[in-house]
C-alpha cells in the first residue's frame, strides 16, 4: 500500500495530487527548483526537497536527483503529473528498478505509447482506425515531402517526442514543409533533447475528441467518457468540455469500445487518454495515447463523480476497478478554461512576471485548480498554464453561464491572460451551438470579436473609471494643499 508519494512536478498539478493524498491520509514529498522556493506545492506537501536550478534539465527533469530524494525521503511511490518526466519510460524504468511504484503505466507500455509509429502499428492490429500518413519515421525533409505528395497536402509534421501542441507544424506546400521540418526538430530538441518526425494527413475542420481510459492490473478496462478539446491555438487546447455536442449515447458506446481495445492493445495500466480526430463527416481517427493524467481531467471528474488521482493510486496499489462499464453514468455538463499567461494580441506570446494580486473564483459548481496566490510569480522557465477554471451544470447552458460568471470574477494582476478571449468565445453563437473545430478561433474571427468586446467593455466602464480618476486626482490635490479640512477628511480614508 502506498503511504508516501513523491510528486515529480510543480504548479497546479503538484497541488492537485497533494490534495487527494491529504484526503486519503497519504504523506507527500514535494521537490522544487530555485525558482519555486516560494511555490504553493512546497508549502502544501508534508515534506519538501530542493533539487536544483530553475532550468527543467537541472531540476524537474533531473532523474538522478529525484531518485536521491525518493530514497532519502522514504517515498514508496512517485506521481509524475503531466509534462516533465511523466511520459519518460527511462524514468518509469528507473523507479521500477528501485522498487518505487510509478503511478502510471509500465515502462514498456509507456514506451510503446510514446513511439508513435509502433503505437500506430499496434492500433492497426487491434482494428483501431488511424489517420493516413508515413508508415514510420521520415529520414529527412525530402522523405517527408515524398509522403506529403503521396497522401496530399496539407500534412502535419509531428515529432514523436512532442506533445501538448509542441513539436507539431501544419504545412501546405513543399516550401513550408522544409521550414517546418527545421522548427519541429529544434523545438523537440529544446524540449526533450531529441527529435524524430512522422508525417500525417492533416484533416480540415476536425474536432479533437479524446476518451479517458482506465485499466487495472487484473485486465479490467473501462472508458470514462469523452472530452471535446477542439478550441485550440497553435495546436494547444484552450477550452475543453464534456460531453461533446456531437457524441450521443450510441456514439459514446461505439467509440468507447474502440478505446478499450486500444488500452488492451498496448497493455496499458492506470489512467490515460486516447486522442481522436473527428473528421467533418463524423469519422473518428485515433491519433495517440497520452500515457499520463491529462491537464483537463477535472471536467471528467465532475461528470463521473470520481477522483482520478485516487483511482490512479488505487490501481497502482493493485486494486481491481470498483466498477464495470455499465455502472458508469455521465452526470451533467462540465467546461474547463485554461487560464494561460499569454498575450492574445501578440500571437499568444508568453507573459511572465510577478503577480501582486489575484482573485480566484469560487462558489457552487466552480472549481479552480491553480498555483496562483497574491504575491506569487509566473516563471518564464515553465509553461504558461496558471489555472484551470472548471464549471459544472445540469445543462450545457448552465455550465456555460457559470463559466462566464467565474471568468468575470477572476483577476490576475501583472500578466496578460487568456480570460478576455474566453469570455468572447463563450458568448459567441458558434460556441453556444456547439459548432466546434480545431480552427475555431480563425474560422469565426474570434480575435476580431475580442477586440470589439474589449472596446465595448471599456465604454461600459467609462463612468466608473472617470469617477475613480476624479476622486484620485482630487485626493492628491488635497494632499498637496494639505491645509484644508478636506485633507483631514481624506486622511480618514487612508489605511
Amino acid at each position: 500500500m502506498i503511504e508516501k508519494v513523491l510528486i515529480a512536478n510543480r504548479g497546479e498539478i503538484a497541488l492537485r495530487v497533494i490534495r487527494t493524498c491529504k484526503a486519503l491520509g497519504i504523506k507527500t514529498v514535494a521537490v522544487y527548483s530555485d525558482e519555486d522556493t516560494n511555490s504553493m506545492h512546497v508549502k502544501q506537501a508534508t515534506e519538501a526537497y530542493h533539487i536544483g536550478e530553475a532550468a527543467p534539465a537541472k531540476s524537474y527533469l533531473n532523474q538522478e536527483k529525484i531518485l536521491d530524494v525518493m530514497l532519502s525521503s522514504g517515498a514508496d511511490a512517485v506521481h509524475p503529473g503531466y509534462g516533465f518526466l511523466s511520459e519518460n519510460d527511462d524514468f518509469a524504468r528507473l523507479c521500477e528498478k528501485n522498487k518505487i511504484t510509478f503511478i502510471g503505466p509500465s515502462a514498456d507500455s509507456m514506451n510503446l505509447c510514446g513511439d508513435k509509429m509502433e503505437c500506430k502499428a499496434a492500433m492497426l492490429k487491434a482494428e483501431v482506425p488511424t489517420v493516413p500518413g508515413s508508415p514510420g519515421l521520415v529520414k529527412d525533409a525530402e522523405d517527408a515531402a515524398k509522403v506529403a505528395n503521396d497522401i496530399g497536402y496539407p500534412v502535419m509534421l509531428k515529432s514523436v517526442y512532442g506533445g501538448g501542441g509542441r513539436g507539431i507544424r501544419i504545412v501546405t506546400n513543399d516550401k513550408e514543409l522544409h521550414d517546418g521540418f527545421e522548427t519541429v526538430t529544434s523545438e523537440s530538441i529544446a524540449a526533450v533533447g531529441k527529435s524524430a518526425i512522422i508525417v500525417e494527413k492533416f484533416l480540415e475542420k476536425t474536432r479533437h475528441i479524446e476518451y479517458q481510459m482506465c485499466r487495472d492490473h487484473h485486465g479490467n478496462s473501462v472508458h470514462l467518457f469523452e472530452r471535446e478539446c477542439s478550441i485550440q491555438r497553435r495546436n494547444q487546447k484552450l477550452i475543453e468540455q464534456t460531453p461533446s455536442p456531437v457524441v450521443d449515447d450510441a456514439k459514446r458506446e461505439e467509440i468507447g469500445e474502440i478505446v478499450v481495445r486500444a488500452a488492451e492493445a498496448v497493455d496499458y495500466t492506470n489512467l490515460g487518454t486516447a486522442e481522436f480526430l473527428r473528421a467533418d463527416n463524423g469519422e473518428f481517427y485515433f491519433i495517440e495515447i497520452n500515457a499520463r493524467l491529462q491537464v483537463e481531467h477535472p471536467i471528467s471528474e465532475m461528470v463521473s463523480g470520481l477522483d482520478f488521482v485516487k483511482l490512479q493510486i488505487d490501481i497502482a496499489n493493485g486494486e481491481p476497478l470498483p466498477f464495470k462499464q455499465k455502472d458508469l453514468k455521465m452526470n451533467g455538463y462540465a467546461i474547463e478554461c485554461r487560464i494561460n499567461a499569454e498575450d492574445t494580441f501578440l500571437d499568444f506570446a508568453p507573459s511572465t512576471g510577478p503577480v501582486p494580486d489575484v482573485t480566484i473564483p469560487s462558489g457552487p459548481n466552480v472549481r479552480c485548480d491553480t498555483y496562483l496566490y497574491p504575491g506569487c510569480t509566473v516563471s518564464p522557465f515553465y509553461d504558461s498554464l496558471m489555472a484551470k477554471l472548471c464549471t459544472w451544470g445540469p445543462t450545457f447552458d448552465e455550465s456555460r453561464t457559470r463559466m462566464l460568471t467565474a471568468l468575470n470574477d477572476m483577476y490576475v494582476e501583472g500578466v496578460e491572460t487568456s480570460i478576455p478571449l474566453y469570455k468572447t468565445i463563450l458568448n459567441s453563437e458558434e460556441y453556444k451551438k456547439g459548432e466546434l473545430s480545431t480552427d475555431f478561433l480563425k474560422r469565426y474571427g474570434m480575435i476580431d470579436k475580442l477586440t470589439e468586446d474589449l472596446k465595448q467593455e471599456k465604454e461600459n466602464k467609462t463612468d466608473a473609471a472617470l469617477a475613480a480618476a476624479i476622486i484620485h486626482s482630487e485626493y492628491f490635490k488635497s494632499q498637496v494643499q494639505n491645509n484644508s479640512n478636506n485633507s483631514a477628511n481624506w486622511k480618514n480614508k487612508l489605511d
Binding site: 497553435r234 499567461a341 507573459s351 515553465y382 472617470l466
Partner: protein, 171 residues
C-alpha cells in the same frame, strides 16, 4: 475641474466633485451629468465605491502627472488627464515613447534568443522574422514592425532579453 481622456475611447470628459455630503457621500459631475458616489474604502493603491447604486473597485497601478493606469472592475484602462489651467494639446501617443519607437524593434516578451534570422544591412519587409525567442518552452518569432534595413543588431544568440529590450533598429 479636470479634463480626462480614456485611451481607445473617442471622447473627452470634464469631471469634478461638486459636493461633499459627508459620511463619505459625494456628488460628482461628468460632463453634464451628476452622479451619486459613496466611498466604501480608499487608500493610495485603490478605491472601492458605489456609483449610482453600483459597486466598483479600482486599483491605481501607476500614475504620472497626466496619465493614470487603473484597473476598474478587473478592466485595465489608461486615462490621460490635465487640469484646465494648462491648455495642452494631447498628442496621439500610439507607441509607448517618442520618435525612437519608429526605428527600434523591441521585444514584446521576455525570453532567450534562440536564433537571429537577419544580418546588418539586410532589407526586411514588415512581418519578416528578425529573431526567434524561447519562453515557456515555446518558440516565439519577433517580426519586423515596418519595411526597412536592419541596423545595430543588439540581440545576441543565447542571451536573455527583457520585455521592451531593443532587438535591432530598422531604418
Amino acid at each position: 475641474m479636470t479634463n480626462f481622456k480614456i485611451q481607445e475611447i473617442e471622447k473627452s470628459f470634464d469631471g469634478k466633485i461638486i459636493e461633499n455630503l459627508g459620511d463619505n457621500d459625494y456628488i460628482i459631475k461628468i460632463n453634464d451629468n451628476e452622479h451619486k458616489l459613496k466611498i466604501i474604502s480608499m487608500n493610495s493603491r485603490g478605491i472601492e465605491f458605489i456609483l449610482n447604486q453600483q459597486y466598483h473597485k479600482a486599483k491605481y497601478l501607476e500614475q504620472s502627472t497626466n496619465e493614470m493606469n487603473i484597473v476598474i472592475d478587473n478592466v485595465p484602462m489608461i486615462i490621460n488627464l490635465h487640469t484646465h489651467y494648462d491648455k495642452v494639446v494631447y498628442k496621439n501617443s500610439g507607441g509607448s515613447s517618442s520618435g525612437g519607437a519608429q526605428i527600434a524593434l523591441k521585444s514584446q516578451i521576455p525570453g532567450k534568443v534562440v536564433s537571429i534570422s537577419v544580418e546588418h544591412g539586410d532589407s526586411v519587409k514588415k512581418g519578416d522574422v528578425v529573431c526567434t525567442l524561447e519562453s515557456m518552452k515555446m518558440q516565439v518569432a519577433v517580426k519586423a514592425h515596418k519595411d526597412g534595413v536592419i541596423r545595430n543588431i543588439k540581440a545576441k544568440e543565447g542571451a536573455s532579453v527583457a520585455k521592451g529590450d531593443i532587438i535591432s533598429d530598422i531604418e
